[in-house]
Chain length 333, copies 2
């Protein structure tokens, strides 16, 4: 039996976010679909950057944000993702390591630059993302370290990994290692358009129980089952998945297990500044709850607390210690 | 007579801020003087970056922040400062141009990289800065475009320009052009340690009336006159300077003119998140008031509004339109 060294290992695209405020008109003018993630090439990246307002740069990436959240709760986290050995890649590596996440994936020494996500935050706090995958496209099965996966209680994978051509194979390899070692595999569906691209494959992963825990928001779930009826998606999910959590923004979340379906209210919050990372941080809290043996309701509340923290400021990573925040809210972890 | 094209031209070090939260213990451990700016070399920059927490990158630089504030008030702004033609330099150029500030200084194609300022923000909102000047050191008199200076109502210079060896000459050249064309020259004393390094020269600039408007905070003023007695610094300043504004944090500011000394209260604010840029944005509001023909009290209130906005979030540049903020507060510009 391999020793447990990490609570959560995240595998995902290593991305630096470039965040600017924008009006809704800007999205329309740029042909962007509000609230979604679009993949863009380098030329489009340059065009968007030239058109967008003053920005800040902040390390991001969906699974990377999640493991940073896990570490902020005081749990043990690691990450696998591909950067280039360039300025932005060094920024990504600095930030994730400084957040106490183990990160040892070998950077690419040539090829495209470190991935960037151009994020427009509209006055309502919604975010619209444009991702240039760059070096993240080069994540390969050889980047998956068997010992690292085997030593993590949960391996958390982002659906976005289906986009880069070889990352999918890395994903499948990691899931197989986790299963062989009796560890759990979690998957986030990432984005409704992403689900639309890979619906059959995602359903297959869930139905074959290669994935133990599924994270989805309502839009992703409607896309997965191609229906606008929420109740029927929950029924389908309960039949397909071992365990799933469906996040519903201000309506809280629904934990869908084989033996029970449980709704948990959202945390009360002030003004929403930027929803980027809400789902990522929810997953962080929920996973920390699970690995610490909390019940589903408590785990969901931990997820809700982390999500509430991150949407009240710009940027997709926590600005305070989530461990301290959880303790202040009577949920010590 | 050269046509007026800009309300304010800022000349300063072109810097990208790397901002992280830190505890007071971290400052002590790193030998940093809280609330001040220290100049560092590349090796020290790397050591600080390795030791500091997860960061965000946001364009900064004292005079650059000021002209971005001026533009946010809807006034016409331009900037002269030296970047390198590298990733960070492109970030700086993007951000200042996206903020509607004209910026045409030729980037350095070789030599040190674009300047970075490592900023630690402690829980009290105070910031402690460590500046690697890099390419900013290469600002030279030839970078000062005579027509640009001549066409600006106010040329605003930062005391920090005294640090890079040749920037001082650029400063003097710009001031001479402004004077010759009947424009006004403003100087911020920048930092108490900076004043300590160049006290004689700053006093000379003020007393010889090469500088028309002086911005200083209390600490800088005490350093300038080497006394802890506030009233005597005001008396000295009134005798030395044509016009000066002394900012006093939550105590507001004092406008010191030959014919009157006037105190103006600070704007009420919520929690202080990060004081970086407070002085820079105060100067922006005050200068916009002056060039729009407002009285000193109104100009000081505009400065106070801008400073209050910037200290309530992370980063040294406004997150909202200062023109709209001023209008909401009954001070249309």
């Amino acid at each position: 039996m391999i020793t447990l060294r990490y609570d959560v290992l995240g595998i995902g695209n290593a991305i630096v976010d470039v965040i600017a405020r924008a009006e809704d008109d800007f999205l329309v003018g740029q042909g962007m679909h509000k609230g979604t993630m679009a993949l863009i090439d380098e030329a489009r990246a340059q065009a968007i950057y030239a058109a967008m307002g003053p920005a800040i740069e902040s390390s991001g990436g969906s699974a990377a944000n999640t493991v940073v959240g896990v570490a902020s709760f005081g749990a043990r986290a690691s990450f696998i993702g591909k950067i280039k050995d360039d300025e932005l890649g060094r920024t990504f590596a600095h930030d994730i390591r400084a957040a106490n996440v183990a990160f040892d994936t070998k950077p690419a020494s040539r090829g495209p630059s470190t991935a960037r996500c151009y994020i427009m935050v509209t006055p309502d706090g919604e975010r619209t993302m444009n991702t240039y995958l760059g070096a993240a496209q080069d994540l390969k099965p050889c980047d998956i370290d068997e010992a690292q996966v085997a030593s993590a209680a949960v391996t958390y994978l982002e659906g976005y990994l289906w986009d880069p051509p070889q990352a999918k194979e890395a994903f499948v390899k990691a899931a197989a290692i986790a299963q062989k070692n009796g560890r759990r595999v979690a998957l986030t569906l990432s984005d409704a358009f992403c689900v639309d691209r890979y619906r059959t494959e995602f359903l297959d992963l869930i139905r074959r129980a290669i994935v133990d825990i599924v994270f989805a928001n309502e839009r992703e779930l409607h896309s997965l089952y191609e229906t606008a009826d929420f109740d029927s998606t929950i029924t389908a999910l309960r039949s397909d998945a071992r365990l799933a959590v469906v996040t519903r923004s201000e309506k809280g979340c629904v934990v869908v297990a084989r033996n029970a379906v449980e709704s948990v209210a959202a945390e009360p919050i002030g003004k929403v500044a930027d929803v980027t990372g809400a789902g990522d941080l929810f997953a962080a809290g929920f996973l920390v709850g699970l690995v610490r043996g909390k019940d589903y309701r408590t785990s969901a509340r931990l997820g809700g607390l982390a999500a509430a923290e991150v949407i009240q400021h710009i940027g997709a990573r926590p600005a305070v210690s989530l461990k301290a925040l959880a303790a202040e809210n009577g949920l010590p972890v």
